[in-house]
Structures are given as C-alpha cells and as structure tokens.
Symmetry: C2
Subunit: 125 residues, 2 copies
C-alpha cells in the first residue's frame, strides 16, 4: 500500500477488533456493557439468542482475552454464574463503539455523495 | 429460549448480516456505499488496506451474494476493473447500518445504566 496516499486505509476500520466484532461476541459485550453488575448465563442466553454451547465457547474467548470476568456464586441454593465486563473490557468496547460510529458517519457522508454522483453520471472509460 | 420473555433476543442483532459484518467486507461495502460509480481494484486495495488475494476473495463472495457488480473495462489502454454496489446491495447495506445504529443506541443507554448501577452496587447473592 502506498502510505503517501492520504486516503490509504480510509475505510480499513482498524479499530474494529475482530475479537469483539464477531456477531455473537458483540451481542454478549453489548448486553454486559449495559449492565455493570453483569448477567448470569441464562439471562445472556436469552438476551443474545445463543445456545448453551455457543455462549460457553464465546464466554471462554472473551474471558481469556481479559474482556469479561466470570464469577461463580449462588442464588439461594442454586449455582449462579455471573459474567460482567472487566474495566479494560469496558474501555476496549468503548473504543470499538467509537469505530462503529465512524462507519455510520462515513455512510451518512455517502448519502451526500450519492446525490452529487447522480449529476456526474457513471463513465467506466 | 423462552420466547415469552420480552427481552429475549434483545441483543441478538439479527440484522447484522454476517456476509457484510465480516470486517474486510464491511470495509469494501462502506467504500462502495460512499461512491455510486464505484472504485477500481487498486483504489479498493488502498482504501481498505487489503492485499490482492484478500480483496479478490472478498469481492468474489460479495459478487456471488449479489451485493456488488464487477465491471471490466479500460482506462486508456489499461484494463480497469470497477466494483460498485448493486441496487439490492445498497438496500441491504442500509438495513445493516440501521442495526449498527441500534448497537450504538443500546450502548448509549448503557452509559446511563452504569450510573444507576453505581448506586445499586453489585451483589452476586
């Protein structure tokens, strides 16, 4: 890539960390972001429409990456596993969201280009 | 999943079509969305910071899905392959963007919860 080109990487969205960008993990992160005290396994399953297996797998990935913590406790007599964002997880998700907002802004700018281009027409040389 | 739970799937983001959500393809779609007449292969490579191989592979996927069209033409004497969104591709990307906006809105609501939760504190029973 020619780094001297000022538009180089303009749409690369390097801030879209693949770890959080994966759809199921984005669901989990967004659920937990909106609730500081976290959610238990069954709540997350419902909120994200995930199967037991899928949810377990993605929780493991997010935990290993230090984005969430998993707290094993009890609700009455029943075991209750609660997931919540770590401080670093919350910060990293915020950065991820900032990049998502950039995608939206770029697209909004695109709607303007659309109008301009109608005047120009399309000529593939 | 208990479908009677009104929060069921609240964070599932079913509208995040995996075809467009994949990071490199999201880059390509966003680049093309902002320019109705499309971009040629080299422009896309730069804008999205992708290698030849990666770009080719993702263009094929997007073309097969009917999201983009690939127009082989000439610029002077040199072959010039231009990619642009199909009408359906533009519509589908718009729907995708609507769902992205929902993620941002949910997160913004989350910042409020954060403040409320500080008062509540965390008690894993």
């Amino acid at each position: 890539m020619n780094k001297s080109d000022e538009n180089g990487g303009r749409f690369a969205y390097e801030g879209l960390d693949r770890l959080m960008h994966e759809k199921a993990r984005l669901s989990i992160m967004a659920s937990l972001y909106t609730r500081v005290e976290g959610h238990n396994f069954n709540e997350l399953k419902k909120l994200c429409s995930l199967t037991d297996g899928n949810l377990s797998r993605h929780i493991t990935v997010l935990k290993q990456a230090g984005l969430i913590e998993v707290i094993k406790g009890y609700e009455g007599n029943k075991p209750n596993t609660v997931c919540r964002l770590t401080e670093s997880g919350r910060e990293r998700f915020k950065s991820y969201l900032t990049e998502l907002e950039q995608v939206i802004r770029d697209a909004a700018a695109g709607s303007i280009v659309e109008t301009v281009d109608e005047k120009r027409g399309f000529s593939p040389a």
